[in-house]
Amino acid sequence: MARDQKSEASPLRAQARRGRGFALEGSSPKGQKRAFGPPLNPPGRRLEAEELEQIPHVRAKTPAKYAWAAGTAMSRFLDELKNGKIIGRKCATCDRVLVPPRMFCERCFKPTTEWVYLPGTAVVETFSISYIDTNANRIKEPILVGTVAFDGAPPHCGIMHYFGEVEPEKLKIGMPVEPVWKPKEERVGSVLDIRYFRPQKKT
C-alpha cells in the first residue's frame, strides 16, 4: 500500500507549501485583517461596476438565430393545441400516457404506440408567485406560474404554464384547474394557445 512509500526526503515535498495561498495570515476581501484557513491570500482582481468602462475590454454581440424543429410528437401536440385539445402518447409496455408526448418511452426505451386525448383538466403540481420576469427585471404585478399534472396522465406528468383568475394567496398545490383557451381564430399551435389555467368552476 502507498503508506509504506512514505519518504521524508522527497524533493517534491520540500517544494510544497511555499507558494501563494499558504502564508500565515490572510487579508479579507475588504482589507481588514482576519483569521482564515486556506486558501490564504487568494488571487483575483475584483472589478467594481464603475471600472467596467475604464479598463480595456471589448463588447460584442452574438446575433445567432435558430429554428428549432418541433419533431414528430411535438408537432402533433401543437396541432392539437390549435384544436383546443391536449394529446398524449401511450407506452404499451409501461402503460403510461406521456404528456408532453414523445415517440419513444425513455424508461422502457421502446416506441410509444398510440395517441390518447386527455380531458385537459389538471391539478396544480407546484407553483411560484414571481416578482421577477424572464430577464430578472422587477415587476409589480406578480406572474403566477407553475406546473400542472394532467388528469388521465401518470402522477406529476404535465407542463409548465401560467395560472389566472385566482388570487395568489388562494393558489394551492393539488388544486383542480382547467385550461383557458384563446379564441380558435387566434390559436397558432403554441403552448400559448392556452392563456393560463384557472381553478375549475364548480358545476
Binding site: A2, R3, Q5, K6, S10, L12, R13, A14, A16, R17, R18, G19, R20, G21, F22, S27, P29, A35, F36, G37, P38, P39, N41, P42, P43, G44, R45, R46, L47, E48, E51, L52, I55, Y66, W68, M74, L78, V99, P100, R102, E106, E125, T126, F127, S128, I129, S130, Y131, I132, D133, T134, N135, A136, P142, V145, T147, M160, I173, V191, L192
Partner: protein, 393 residues
C-alpha cells in the same frame, strides 16, 4: 457495475482557488492559471509533473466563448498533454474531479490536475439571459421563464410534501453566510445576518426571496489528484477519494415529483458502496452538499440519505448542522456565503473537504474530529447529481 475492484486509490494533495466575486478583471484563462498554480504549489508540483489535465466549465454561453474547454486550455496547464473538458451544469463542480479520479484510478495517470472556471459576468445584461437556453424551446421558452422559477417551484413542492417551514429553510442561508466569514474568497459573508433579514428580503419568485439565493460569481478553483503510488511523496496527509457516484434523471422535468431528488440518492448509494459505507449517518462526519439555494442544502442532505425527507430542516433548527454541531454542513460557507461560480464551486466542495480532512481549515475547522466527509453537486435541468466521499486514513 463493479464498484469494488478499482486499480489505484486516488488522493487529493493540493487545492487552490481565486476569490469569488461578481466580476473579476482576469480573463478566464488567467483565473484558471491562478487557481491551478495555487493547487500545484500546495502539492509541491510543477506543471511538468502533471500527466493529464481536466477542465470543468459550465455553459459556453456565460463566457461567450465557444468550446470553452480548449479556450481555457493554456491557462489550465493542458498544452501538449492529454486533456478533456467535462460539463454537467452545476454538477460539474464535483463531476470534474470524478473525471480526474477515473484518469488516475484506472492506472493510466499518476498525477492529474483538475481545473474549474466560470466567468458569469461576461454575459450582458445578466447571467439570466444565458440560462434561458437550458429550457425546451417549444414547450418552456414561450412561457418566458426565469431560472429562479424552477427553484421556486421545486422548493414549493418540497415544503408542501414534507411539511417543511420556510423559517427552517431560511436558517440555512443564515448559517452559511455566517460560516463564510471564515473564508478568504467569500463574496457574501455576513457575520451579522439574522433570520429576519432573510425572511424580509426582497421577494423574487415566492417562496424564493433574494437572500435564499446564492449570487452569480466569477471564479476558478483547482485540485491535484495523485495515485497511491506517489501520494506520500507529496504529503504526510493525503486525503483519499474513496467513493464516487453520479446519476441523471429525465430531462422531462414536468413529469417528475420534484420533492425528493431520487437521482441524488442513486449517486450517493453508488459512492457509499464504493467507499464501503453501510450506514452513512453513522460513518460520515460532515457534509458539503450543493447549496445554490438554501432549501437545496436540506433536500440534498435527504437525497444523500443523511436525513429522512423533511428531517434536515429539523436538524438545522436544532443547530446540529452548525460548524460546531454534531453534524456540520457546509462549514466552508457554501455557495450561499462564498459565491456561486457554477463549476468553480469545486473549491468550496472538494477543496473544503480536503482542507477540513487534512486539518488545515484554520478558523473554519469543524469542532469535532473528522475522518470521513461527503460532498455533492447538482445540475443540468434539476436532474443531475455527482457525489464524492473523501477520507483521511
Amino acid at each position: 457495475m463493479n464498484l469494488t475492484k478499482i486499480r489505484k486509490d486516488v488522493a487529493v494533495v493540493g487545492a487552490g482557488m481565486t476569490i469569488f466575486a461578481r466580476r473579476l478583471q482576469e480573463t478566464g484563462k488567467e483565473m484558471s492559471w491562478e487557481a491551478a498554480k495555487m493547487a500545484l504549489d500546495q502539492a509541491g508540483l510543477t506543471l511538468k509533473d502533471i500527466d493529464a489535465v481536466i477542465v470543468g466549465s459550465a455553459p459556453d454561453a456565460f463566457d461567450g466563448v465557444h468550446k470553452k474547454g480548449d479556450w481555457l486550455l493554456d491557462g489550465a496547464g493542458g498544452t501538449n498533454k492529454p486533456f478533456m473538458r467535462v460539463f454537467t451544469g452545476g454538477g460539474t463542480a464535483v463531476f470534474a474531479p470524478i473525471a480526474g479520479w477515473w484518469h488516475v484510478a484506472s492506472g493510466m495517470f499518476k498525477r492529474v490536475l483538475v481545473v474549474c472556471e466560470e466567468k458569469m459576468s461576461s454575459v450582458q445584461p445578466h447571467a439570466q439571459s444565458a440560462f434561458a437556453h437550458i429550457w425546451d424551446p417549444i414547450l418552456d421558452r414561450p412561457i418566458k421563464p426565469n431560472l429562479v422559477w424552477i427553484f421556486a417551484m421545486e422548493m414549493q413542492r418540497y415544503m408542501h410534501k414534507y411539511n417543511v417551514r420556510y423559517e427552517d429553510i431560511a436558517l440555512v442561508a443564515v448559517k452559511n453566510k455566517r460560516n463564510a466569514v471564515g473564508h478568504p474568497c467569500a463574496q457574501l459573508a455576513d457575520p451579522n445576518i439574522t433570520l429576519e433579514d432573510v425572511i424580509n428580503s426582497e421577494p423574487m419568485a415566492l417562496p424564493v426571496r433574494r437572500l435564499n439565493i446564492s449570487p452569480p460569481s466569477d471564479g476558478a478553483a483547482a485540485v491535484v489528484l495523485v495515485s497511491e503510488d506517489v501520494a506520500y511523496e507529496h504529503t504526510d496527509s493525503p486525503v483519499w477519494i474513496d467513493g464516487v457516484g453520479w446519476c441523471i434523471d429525465t430531462t422531462m422535468w414536468t413529469n417528475r415529483d420534484l420533492a425528493f431528488p431520487k437521482f441524488v440518492a442513486r449517486a450517493a448509494k453508488m459512492a457509499y458502496e464504493m467507499a464501503g459505507i453501510k450506514n452513512p449517518r453513522k460513518e460520515i462526519d460532515f457534509a458539503e452538499p450543493y447549496d445554490p439555494f438554501d432549501y437545496k442544502e436540506l433536500q440534498h442532505l435527504e437525497g444523500l440519505l443523511l436525513a429522512d425527507p423533511g428531517e434536515a430542516a429539523i436538524m438545522t433548527r436544532e443547530g446540529k448542522t452548525q460548524r460546531d454541531g454534531e453534524f456540520p454542513v457546509c462549514p466552508s460557507g457554501g455557495l450561499l456565503g462564498v459565491g456561486n461560480p457554477i463549476s468553480a464551486a469545486l473549491g468550496i466542495k472538494i477543496g473544503e473537504l480536503y482542507w477540513q480532512l487534512s486539518g488545515q481549515a484554520g478558523p473554519r475547522q469543524v469542532k469535532k474530529e473528522v475522518r470521513t466527509g461527503v460532498t455533492q453537486a447538482w445540475g443540468d435541468l434539476m436532474q443531475f447529481s455527482s457525489v464524492i466521499v473523501m477520507r483521511r486514513r
